[in-house]
Symmetry: C2
Subunit: 248 residues, 2 copies
């Protein structure tokens, strides 16, 4: 019996800031239904507040409290463990970490830092990892899609630093179990009663299903032909509108 | 019966351009012995000609033909397969690839490019890999040692692009079997009659031993405490001088 739906954002609700066909109405129908609804993203080029505002501006109907972002999970981890981060994050994400002590860092935070993912910054992070600092990552996403092309996401850089220092990153966004459980706990729903909808076959769909959640793959965003073969038990639809038609 | 010795260069013969204690004399003794001798390096911040000249300037005695570098192996591969490279290489290495057609590239060459290993260059390489271009790498070395500190080598960036594009790189320097075999063939020696001496437990020692060569680990250069546990069958010495004392 389905009680809750988790929606990935980029590639499911919109592409490049343009709502996907039928997506705004599909979200309205879910909000009006008896199903609990949350929006979950590894996006690390903007803050959670900005993610919410941008969705409102596109016409989506949702509350700030329904948005769960991976960088916010990283901040919670830093605070809980009293860590001082070396921030390899996008400049637009800096407000998410405002007020944290970044002097004499003892942790590396790696998000989709784009212009900061250069040799000097990565090598500085490597020095900290050699000294025992943990590597905190939003996710292990391989790529994201923008303006019709795939681009490197944070995942490859996580793998690079893990390999260099011989360590394992602490992944705090999708596909980490903790991230999904935080969202499920917020709704008071057990995994089997929740459906994760995403365009990323690994970080969204396969990861959620590995926890006992239901999974749905949409053929929008970063979906690539043949992805469904990797999640044979998942629902597969052309887009969110078709999926919501099927659900409600 | 030992017939040949292969010496890694950086961290075995010198550190930061300063010959290691006893190394110059140790090389002279090997050259004067009945053993065939070759110098093998994944260094990708200078050309093979420059590697040779720098060793001469440090006082080492060797011929240009005794030096085998990974970037030269990459060039041979490009020429053999008629590939047009997108060169992520250090500016000092560019002469090694002079004269190759680099227009409309259909292969990615990843060396220790330092300042070119930034997001725009890596993302451009990723686009080519998605189109089916092979990724040619000098090696998968995790780090190198300079001025007493470890720094990111090309390996982590190879792993990043492999992970992003879901492909395997073609590795043409150490630890690739082909690289060692090229050197062994040049001497006309079978693997079991040759000794590889290195400070990199994986790319030098373990890789050579996996081919049936003998291996020796020296506790100089990038050696880290405990490395010998990973190659229990290897000879281990404090430095090249001690190793040559034992050999001759």
């Amino acid at each position: 019996m389905l009680q809750a739906v988790l929606l990935d954002i980029s590639g499911v609700l919109h592409e490049d800031g343009q709502p996907l066909p039928g997506a705004v109405e599909a979200v309205s129908r879910l909000q009006a239904s008896r199903l609990a609804l949350r929006f979950v993203t590894n996006t690390s080029r903007k803050t959670g507040t900005r993610v919410h505002a941008d969705l409102l501006a596109m016409g989506f109907e949702l509350e700030r409290q329904q948005v769960f972002t991976a960088p916010a999970a990283v901040r919670r981890y830093l605070e809980h463990h009293r860590l001082r981060p070396y921030l390899l994050v996008h400049e637009q994400l800096e407000p998410e970490f405002a007020g944290l002590d970044t002097g004499d860092p003892d942790a590396v935070v790696l998000c989709d830092a784009e212009q900061r993912l250069d040799y000097p910054h990565l090598d500085a992070a490597f020095q900290l990892l050699l000294e025992g600092a943990p590597l905190l990552a939003v996710g292990t996403n391989r790529y994201f899609r923008q303006h019709g092309a795939l681009h490197l996401d944070a995942g490859p850089f996580v793998k690079a630093l893990e390999y260099a220092a011989g360590i394992d990153a602490v992944v705090l966004g999708k596909p980490a179990a903790g991230f999904f459980h935080t969202v499920l706990d917020d709704m008071g729903v057990r995994p089997g009663a929740a459906l994760m909808v995403g365009d990323d076959v690994e970080a969204d769909v396969a990861a959620a299903m590995a926890l006992g959640m239901q999974g749905a793959l949409v053929r929008t965003g970063k979906y690539r032909d043949g992805d469904e073969a990797r999640v044979p038990q998942a629902a597969v639809e052309d887009g969110l509108a078709e999926l919501v038609d099927r659900l409600l």
